[in-house]
C-alpha cells in the first residue's frame, strides 16, 4: 500500500480509545502523507472524532453544519475534482438522511468518498430509536459499487481506514459509539478488505459475525468448547461487501452449521449476505441469522441492550446450543454436488 509507506502507526492506543477516536487519529496520520485526503462533517466533528484531522489540517476540512445531505453532496463534488473525502456523521444519518446522495451522487458516479458512520446499531441505545441504526448494512450493501466494512474493534478500524484509501470507489465503514474491548492484540493479523479472518478454528458449527459481535463470539466459542465440548469456528466477516464467499462455502462443507451474529436487523445485513452464498451453493446446511429480529429496538444503555437481544457471549451461547439440536439432512453424495 503505497499511501502509508514510512508512516508509523503508534498514533493510537487500542486499550484505552474508542474506535471513533482511533478513526480520527488514524485519518490525521494518514493525511500527513496523502494531501488528496480531505474531511467533511455535519456538526459532528467532535462526536465522530474527525476533529483530530480538522485540527491538523484546517484548510482541508469542511464542517457544513447540521446538513447531512449537503455534506455527502459536497463530498461527491470534492471527489469529482480528484480528492479523497472522508465524510463522517452518525450511521443513521449517513445511511438514511443522506441516502440518495450516497446512492446517486457518490456510488453511481463511483467516486472515492469514504463514509464513516458512527453510533451504529444499538450502541447509542439510550438516545432512543431515532438514533439507533439497524438498517445501514442492508442499505449500503444494496448500493452498487459500494464496499461495506464493519470492523470488530479499534485496531481493525484503523486498518480499514488506511486500506479504504486504495479502493477506487466508495466505501462505508460502520463503527459504534463506545469503547469496544480489542479483539486483536496487535495489527499483524493480515487484514485485507474482502478477506474474512478465522478467529477460532472449529469443526461442529461456524459463527460468522462482524463488529462488536466478533469478540463476544470468540468468548462464546471458548465457553462452548470447555462446557459442552462443541468445537465452534468463529469467522470475523469484517467486509460485508464484497463478501468472502470462499470462507462461507468452506464453513458450509466443513461444519454444516452456521450462525450469523450482527448488531443489525436480521433482514438485509450480514445474515442475508451469508444466506445468499449458502443458497446459491446448492448445499444443505443448518443456518440461523441472529441479530435484531425485524423490530425497532427498545430504549436502554448499550450493555443492557446487548444482553437483552442476546448479542453478548451468553446470548450467543444460547443460540449455538439451540442450533446444535437441529439436524441437517444427511446426504451420501455430498462430495459430488
Amino acid at each position: 500500500m503505497s499511501t502509508i509507506t514510512g508512516t508509523t502507526w503508534n498514533c493510537y492506543d487500542s486499550a484505552t480509545m474508542t474506535p471513533r477516536e482511533i478513526y480520527g487519529r488514524t485519518l490525521a496520520e494518514l493525511a500527513k502523507t496523502n494531501d488528496r485526503i480531505v474531511g467533511v462533517t455535519a456538526d459532528l466533528a467532535k462526536t465522530t472524532a474527525i476533529v483530530h484531522f480538522a485540527n491538523a489540517f484546517p484548510n482541508r476540512f469542511f464542517n457544513v453544519g447540521i446538513a447531512e445531505q449537503n455534506m455527502l453532496g459536497i463530498a461527491a463534488g470534492l471527489a469529482k475534482a480528484g480528492l479523497i473525502p472522508f465524510a463522517s456523521s452518525m450511521a443513521v444519518f449517513v445511511s438514511m438522511r443522506g441516502g440518495e446522495q450516497v446512492r446517486t451522487d457518490i456510488a453511481y458516479q463511483n467516486l472515492p468518498v469514504k463514509i464513516i458512520g458512527t453510533h451504529a446499531g444499538i450502541s447509542f441505545g439510550h438516545a432512543g430509536t431515532t438514533h439507533h441504526c439497524t438498517e445501514d448494512l442492508a442499505i449500503m450493501r444494496s448500493i452498487a459499487n459500494m464496499t461495506v466494512i464493519c470492523p470488530a474493534d479499534g485496531i481493525e478500524t484503523s486498518l480499514a481506514v488506511r486500506a479504504c484509501v486504495d479502493i477506487p470507489g466508495p466505501v462505508y465503514i460502520r463503527i459504534g459509539r463506545g469503547f469496544e474491548p480489542p479483539c486483536y492484540p496487535d495489527e499483524n493479523y493480515g487484514f485485507t478488505i474482502g478477506k474474512a479472518i478465522e478467529m477460532v478454528p472449529g469443526t461442529d458449527i461456524t459463527i460468522i459475525s462482524c463488529g462488536i459481535a466478533v469478540l463476544q463470539s470468540v468468548q462464546a466459542a471458548k465457553t462452548l468448547l470447555e462446557q459442552d465440548g462443541i468445537s465452534v469456528r468463529v469467522i470475523n466477516m469484517h467486509t460485508i461487501k464484497p463478501i468472502d464467499r470462499e470462507a462461507v462455502l468452506k464453513a458450509v462443507t466443513e461444519t454444516r452449521r452456521i450462525l450469523t451474529v450482527e448488531e443489525h436487523n436480521v433482514e438485509g445485513g450480514l445474515g442475508d449476505a451469508v444466506a445468499s452464498v449458502i443458497a446459491e451453493s446448492g448445499k444443505g446446511c443448518v443456518f440461523k441469522k441472529h441479530g435484531i429480529y425485524d423490530q425497532f429496538a427498545t430504549i436502554g444503555y448499550a450493555e443492557d441492550l446487548y444482553t437483552h437481544y442476546e448479542l453478548d457471549a451468553d446470548g450467543i451461547i444460547n443460540q449455538v446450543r439451540s442450533l446444535m439440536g437441529r439436524d441437517y439432512e444427511a446426504d451420501e453424495n455430498w462430495e459430488d454436488e
Partner: protein, 276 residues
C-alpha cells in the same frame, strides 16, 4: 397585556422548578442535553401552562393543540414539563435512559404520554407540524400546532422545504419557533455555518417574524398570542435565548451541549438555579 404580574410570577416559579428537574434528569439518566434544554424553559412553560389546549386526562384527544419538539435532544426539558402538566408521574422520570424506560435522550411518541411526535433526527419536526396543520384545516378543526426548532437545526434543507410549504399553504394554524441560542455542537452557529441574516430569511419565506427575548415571559406570551391569532401570514417567533440559561457556569458555553451525570456538578448547578 399578554401576561399579568401575578401570572408572570406563577410562570417564573414553574420555570425555576422545571430547571431543577432538568438537572435531576441529568443525574438520573446518566447524562442529558442540558444546555439546549435550559434555553427553552420559558418557551415550554408558557406553552404548557398558558397556551396549549391539552388535557392530561385525554392525551390523544383529537381537538388538542399539538406541540412538536423538533429539537428532540431537549427531551430532558419536554418530558419534565409533560410530567409537571400531569401527563407523567414524576417518579417515572427516574427511569430516564434506562432499559425499557419510555424516556430516552429523544422523545418517543409511541411511549411518552402527551408527546405528539417522535423526534431527534433534526430537521423533521416542521414538516410534521405542517402536516398536522393541513390535517386540521381539512378536518375543520381549530387546534393549533406549535413547532420548536434549534437554530443549528436550521442548517437542514428540510427545514426550508417545510417553511416554504407553511407559507404556500397559508398555514396560520402552525406557529414556528426557533430557539436562537447561537450555539450548536461544534461551536457558534455563525462560526460553523452562518445563519444570519436569519430573521430576513424567514421574512422572505413569507412569515410574520416576531423577534423576542425567549426568557422574558411578557415577550414570550405576547408573541404566542400573536401566533394564536394569526390570520394573514403564519407567525415565526425568533426567540433569542442563552444556552444553559439559569446555571451560571453553563451559560453560553459550548461544552454544556451535553453533560454527563456527576452529583457534585448537579448540586452546583441546582445552587446556581436557586440563586437566579
Amino acid at each position: 397585556m399578554a401576561c399579568t404580574v401575578e401570572e408572570k410570577q406563577r410562570l417564573q416559579d414553574i420555570a425555576r422548578e422545571l430547571r431543577l428537574t432538568i438537572i435531576d434528569v441529568t443525574a438520573w439518566s446518566g447524562g442529558a442535553h442540558v444546555g439546549g434544554s435550559l434555553s427553552i424553559v420559558e418557551l415550554l412553560t408558557a406553552l404548557y401552562f398558558k397556551y396549549l389546549n391539552v388535557d392530561p386526562e385525554r392525551p390523544q384527544w383529537e381537538d388538542r393543540d399539538r406541540f412538536v419538539l423538533s429539537k428532540g435532544h431537549a427531551a430532558a426539558a419536554l418530558i419534565p414539563v409533560l410530567s409537571k402538566r400531569g401527563f407523567i408521574p414524576e417518579e417515572e422520570l427516574k427511569t430516564f435512559n434506562h432499559f425499557g424506560s419510555p424516556f430516552a435522550m429523544h422523545p418517543d411518541s409511541n411511549k411518552v404520554t402527551g408527546c405528539d411526535a417522535s423526534t431527534g433526527s433534526l430537521g423533521h419536526g416542521l414538516s410534521i407540524a405542517a402536516g398536522m396543520g393541513l390535517a386540521a384545516r381539512y378536518l375543520k378543526k381549530d387546534y393549533k400546532t406549535v413547532c420548536l426548532m434549534g437554530d443549528g437545526e436550521c442548517c437542514e434543507g428540510s427545514v426550508w422545504e417545510a417553511a416554504m410549504s407553511i407559507a404556500n399553504f397559508k398555514l396560520t394554524n402552525v406557529i414556528t419557533i426557533v430557539d436562537r441560542n447561537r450555539l450548536m455542537i461544534d461551536g457558534f452557529t455563525e462560526d460553523v455555518m452562518a445563519l444570519e441574516p436569519f430573521a430576513e430569511k424567514w421574512h422572505s419565506f413569507g412569515f410574520d417574524v416576531i423577534e423576542i427575548d425567549g426568557h422574558d415571559f411578557e415577550q414570550v406570551c405576547s408573541a404566542l398570542e400573536k401566533g394564536w391569532n394569526a390570520t394573514e401570514k403564519p407567525v415565526f417567533i425568533l426567540a433569542n435565548t442563552i444556552k444553559g440559561k439559569g446555571v451560571d457556569f453553563m451559560e453560553n458555553n459550548v461544552v454544556w451541549h451535553y453533560a454527563s451525570a456527576d452529583s457534585a456538578l448537579c448540586e452546583k448547578a441546582k445552587a446556581s438555579i436557586l440563586n437566579l
